[in-house]
Symmetry: C2
Subunit: 246 residues, 2 copies
DNA sequence: TAGTGGTCTAGACCACGAG
DNA sequence: TCGTGGTCTAGACCACTAC
């Protein structure tokens, strides 16, 4: 098993084993609540250590594909629990729109150098008089307005890039390609809200329509605040779900 | 290290080590981005295996208290990332209200045996003509209305309990104590909405006020759907956050 | 009592980062 | 090149479940 791993592009063994277990469930046509082979049996079947088996099973358990009961065994979970994309998973909005089955698009509203609000100064750890750049965009799904995004980053992060030279679809991809900054996680506050004046103007929505606002701070792996965003989503298009575990 | 574990009440070693590492950070006054001892050093410090150290560190990494960089080391994360209660963690509403710093209370609206909607039949896997019980409650925070809860369970789960004999604060605790059913996770859809007629009547809120609706299905460990709920939260009181990771 | 998953040990090789 | 975290092996004892 270990030999031909190197030919593949460095996928961990536990990831491979996870796939093999899924194939096993498929092949043996295991139904919900059917028992999988025990961990010790799996070590023999795949000729690998129990540690690796347990890693693979942990991945499947996280995704609610299996469940374990101490002293009894490991079992297949009920079917309809596959979630395409839960809010607890951080995707770019481009990707979210795709997962909902629409073709993503962008209409630029403005790029402006502005003076940060007090909240921004605090959250982005800005120095006094430090400037920020605010990007306002309409994101479309199959050409129709679906979200209004207001992203703000410290000007220093963008270096010598002038605001009008900046153009991108996904801010995540842009930050990664241009500056090597990889966003690892975000902390989002979820707020029901009415559209702002600007949104009424640019999106042509009614002032009493409802939006879901995600007020988010994005961090890199080392916990540095990278950007500050207010993303307004049209709930008719975005059905946000979240898996909540104990 | 292993000897005196038995005196404590079965907390895993990795949990204990997690605490010890936190104490170490405290004692040594480690600042954000300061380096922790390497894993091999920690094995010597605590006289335990690297596996257990890594489990403890994994817990701390999940909580964004530390971050790791392959080839470099393990580091303390920036401070203000402590979240009291993210939506990705399933708490009872009683507990959520407490974590927000209020005293939880309940005002009962009704308990009714009803005919399920088509959506309920599908989601709760009901047989034709199977009845359900719907609980409607107002949850209060420091005596003020904070949420309107509509929970529905299949009648068969409640067995011989008659609706009017039922009274509880937390549905989670009730299900556990009365029937031994433990809710393990929920899948929630997050929807901005206006109050229903009933809410306007019982809560005395304006019909144009905003609510955050969590449309949720709760499951036990084995993936059985236990209950169906529509929870309406007043966003002035509940500031829901979620950690979104890649 | 036998089998299961949960936890822990000791040791190994690897890829990555920095000097 | 050396130390680090990432991955994997082999073996052990425990608590829990079911018989």
């Amino acid at each position: 098993m270990t030999e031909f791993r190197k030919s593949k592009k460095y996928v961990s063994l536990s990831q491979e084993v996870k796939k093999k277990i899924l194939e096993y469930i498929e092949k043996e046509n295991l139904q919900p609540d059917d028992k999988l082979p025990s961990e010790s049996q799996l070590t023999k079947m795949f000729k690998i250590s129990r540690y690796t088996i347990r890693e693979a099973l942990a991945l499947l358990e996280q995704e609610k594909i299996i469940y374990k009961i101490k002293g009894k065994g490991t079992f297949v979970n009920k079917k309809p629990i596959q979630i395409k994309s839960g809010l607890e998973y951080l995707d770019s909005i481009t990707e979210i729109i795709r997962k909902f089955g629409y073709e993503p698009g962008t209409k630029w509203v403005s790029i402006e150098e502005t003076i940060p609000t007090k909240d921004m100064v605090k959250k982005l750890n800005l120095k006094p008089k430090e400037k920020v750049i605010t990007f306002k965009r309409i994101r479309t799904a199959d050409g129709k307005p679906a979200a209004f995004l207001v992203d703000t980053v410290a000007k220093k992060i963008l270096g010598n890039k002038k605001p009008d030279q900046i153009n991108f679809e996904s801010l995540f991809e842009y930050m990664e390609k241009e500056f090597g900054i990889i966003i690892e996680y975000a902390i989002s506050e979820i707020i029901p809200t009415f559209p702002t004046e600007e949104m009424i103007q640019y999106l042509g929505v009614d002032k009493n329509s409802l939006f879901l606002l995600l007020y988010q701070l994005h961090y890199d792996k080392e916990g540095r605040t990278i950007f500050y965003s207010l993303d307004y989503f049209d709930p008719k298009i975005f059905k946000f779900k979240v898996i909540r575990s104990r």
